[in-house]
């Protein structure tokens, strides 16, 4: 078993038995489900909206070359410097290069999963920069030296008490555990950081090809400030985030909000198309956009699973996934958790090391059903299982199927085997679920139904 698989198994066992964790997640998800359903019902045709969103993303991704070209050309024409990074290391080097050139000291960041993906914070901190996450949830997990727990709710696994504790420890300021009070502490601390910061780094939710803009969705205003106050602004964005036209946002902004947080639209949706332009009051002198591949083209090359690049990172598939709700966000050991993470991680980080995630699913299909851009998530998990065993077959499975095939192909052998099975099951009872049981992994927590006393063929013959 690969190291990530062992880690996954251990953590899954521990976390799924943690009743406190379960309580926190159930409460948060319960609240989410109520508002999400209410917002979906306010649409005239939610299923129709999913179809339109899927079609738009299909166009965007299946003509990615055209849209990227147009995006880069448009945004460069207004004075933005566009950088291209094939790998995580290249993206880190580009950003560190900008920080060096600008002689930066303090870097303020708004939420960006791509920056988690390339481990940007570690690289910047090791190079001696002070890095401050400004999204409240990200700020909290940064203080706790943890990665974000969830794509949209980074600190959803924490109680107010735990947040108060870390504020006391790291900020020496936590008058009470009221969310309002704690939020105001963070606001005060981060305001000062904004005023000091030399460089602001953001992610992006969409890159509009037609007009050459990145679109950033948020609620707190932290991305707005990140893009307003520092003299240099950097946006790190995956190449798959393109949308063909500005008006596509009329569909995607509400859908992202409904699925992400259950809001009709989030508080701030902002399009940035360049640095401060002549005649404008403020804004960065320099704007850099770093376009990141980092194996996205590998996923693009898999025509069967290409639609996984449609993902808008709303987190809806995590929220409905019975596995995610039991094992939690950290068990996956990946930047992107839940069903979408289980689908794309083997493409991004190696199929054999991460194939166990394809089995972190009950195949119930709740993810596929909820996905606003209609990614065929649970079928992709099956395809990853198939691809993994095709590229590296497991010896005992090969033998088992070699033995099974002739049995299943011969009525006489099949009949004999079921008869033997009845006897075998009696003896199996002696070792069931123990270390001697070859099927221990299965039988330890599950019952095997008894083999029927009479087979269908026997029953049929008798009636005739």
């Amino acid at each position: 078993m690969s190291a990530p698989a062992t880690h996954f198994k251990e953590d899954a066992r521990r976390v799924s038995a943690d009743l406190r964790h379960r309580g926190i997640i159930q409460t948060a998800m319960g609240k989410y489900e109520v508002v999400r359903d209410q917002r979906q019902r306010s649409f005239q045709d939610w299923q129709g909206a999913r179809q339109l969103a899927a079609a738009t993303k299909w166009q965007a991704v299946n003509h990615l070359d055209k849209h990227l070209e147009q995006f880069a050309q448009q945004i460069e024409s207004r004075g933005t410097k566009v950088h291209w990074a094939s790998t995580a290391a290249q993206a880190r080097d580009i950003i560190l290069g900008i920080l060096r050139e600008k002689n930066a000291k303090v870097v303020v960041k708004s939420k960006a999963m791509t920056s988690e993906e390339i481990h940007l914070n570690d690289a910047m901190e090791q190079a001696g920069y002070e890095v401050v996450e400004s999204d409240l949830g990200e700020f909290i997990v940064q203080l706790r030296e943890e990665p974000p727990y969830h794509l949209v709710f980074p600190a959803m696994h924490l109680t107010r008490g735990e947040i108060k504790d870390v504020f006391e420890r790291k900020l020496h300021d936590a008058p009470s555990d009221e969310p309002e009070v704690l939020t105001m502490v963070a606001r005060r601390v981060l305001r000062q950081k904004y005023l000091q910061a030399d460089v602001g780094i953001t992610g992006a939710n969409f890159a509009i090809a037609e007009t050459g803009m990145v679109s950033i969705t948020e609620n707190e205003g932290n991305a707005r400030l990140t893009a307003a106050l520092p003299r240099t602004m950097i946006t790190l964005v995956g190449i798959e985030k393109v949308l063909p036209r500005l008006e596509d946002l009329a569909l995607f902004l509400p859908m992202l909000a409904v699925m992400g947080t259950g809001q009709p639209i989030t508080c701030y949706n902002t399009m940035y198309g360049g640095p401060r332009q002549p005649g404008e009051a403020d804004g960065p002198e320099e704007y850099h956009v770093v376009l990141l591949d980092n194996q996205r083209t590998t996923l693009l090359a898999d025509a069967e699973q290409r639609d996984a690049l449609h993902c808008i990172r709303c987190g809806a598939c995590l929220n409905v996934c019975p596995i995610f709700r039991n094992v939690g966000g950290y068990t996956y050991g990946t930047v992107y958790g839940g069903p979408i993470g289980s689908v794309i991680t083997p493409h991004l980080r190696g199929l054999q090391d991460w194939k166990h995630l394809s089995y972190a699913s009950s195949l119930c299909g709740a993810c596929t059903e909820t996905c606003p851009v209609k990614i065929d998530l649970h079928h992709h998990l099956l395809q990853n299982r198939r691809n993994a065993s095709r590229s590296k077959p497991i010896w005992w499975q090969k033998i088992a199927f070699k033995l099974f095939a002739p049995v299943a192909n011969s009525p006489a052998l099949w009949s004999l085997t079921t008869k033997l099975g009845r006897i075998g099951q009696v003896f199996h009872g002696l070792i069931k679920g123990g270390v001697l049981d070859p099927a221990e992994a299965w039988t330890k927590t599950r019952e095997l139904p008894p083999v029927a006393k009479q087979s269908f063929r026997e029953w049929w013959k008798e009636r005739k």
């Binding site: 947040i163 707190e220 106050l229 399009m271």
Partner: protein, 220 residues
């Protein structure tokens, strides 16, 4: 070869195999969007009513005012109630005279300003490019409404809009932006929907996470 070329080569190579599409794949039209999104009402009155309802839900304050006299009175009442000491605004037909009439130190952001000074202001007063009924959204830009920070740095954002700036939905707002600016877009276009908020601690709503705790929209 540059990384740009490497990436494009991989994309071209990948796209030689066609992906199977499930259902329709042509780009939707605005009419398609309007067919599925929440309804906004046919008349301007219905749309104002929708804006007002949405604003209540968002905990924003929305007031239709008769004329500039009433507007001045409303602003003075806010000034006194919240004990404003410094005001930030930008030059504009609707706001210039109004902000000046408050009798308080006034910071105009046009042409640059000291960010520490803006941070000290109790209120930022701006115009807007549009009001969107569908979501009770205010559209601001870096060129027409005083820059990027005026609408997020002070704890209270007051928007002064004209009645004819109301558009029914987001599609109409994007169409308006395109027709107003042509290809010469402002470097920032922001859709503001309610005061700044967070639910990051136990999913409990708190207003004023980083941006304004209060958003007041006056429509003349």
């Amino acid at each position: 070869m540059t990384e740009r070329e490497n990436i494009f080569n991989r994309i071209h190579e990948a796209l030689t195999v066609k992906a199977q599409a499930h259902g329709e794949t042509s780009l939707p039209t605005t009419a398609d969007h309007r067919r599925v999104l929440p309804p906004v009402g046919a008349t301007v009155d219905e749309q104002f009513a929708l804006f007002a309802r949405n604003a209540v839900e968002l905990r924003a304050i929305f007031k239709l005012v008769k004329d500039s006299n009433q507007l001045t009175a409303e602003l003075r009442a806010l000034r006194d109630a919240e004990n404003w000491k410094r005001v930030a605004a930008h030059k504009g037909q609707l706001v210039s005279a109004l902000a000046g009439s408050l009798g308080l130190p006034l910071l105009l952001t046009d042409g640059g300003y000291d960010k520490q000074e803006l941070e000290q202001c109790d209120v930022g007063i701006s115009e807007c490019d549009a009001l969107v009924a569908q979501t009770a959204t205010v559209v601001v830009t870096s060129r027409t409404t005083g820059g990027r920070a005026l609408s997020v740095l002070p704890p209270h954002h007051v928007v002064i809009a004209r009645r004819e700036q109301l558009v029914p939905d987001l599609s109409a707002a994007f169409a308006l932006i395109k027709s107003k600016h042509g290809a010469n877009y402002p470097s920032m276009i922001s859709f503001i929907t309610g005061p700044s908020r967070t639910g990051d601690i136990e999913r409990i709503l708190v207003l004023g996470a980083h941006g304004p705790k209060k958003l007041t929209i006056f429509c003349v």
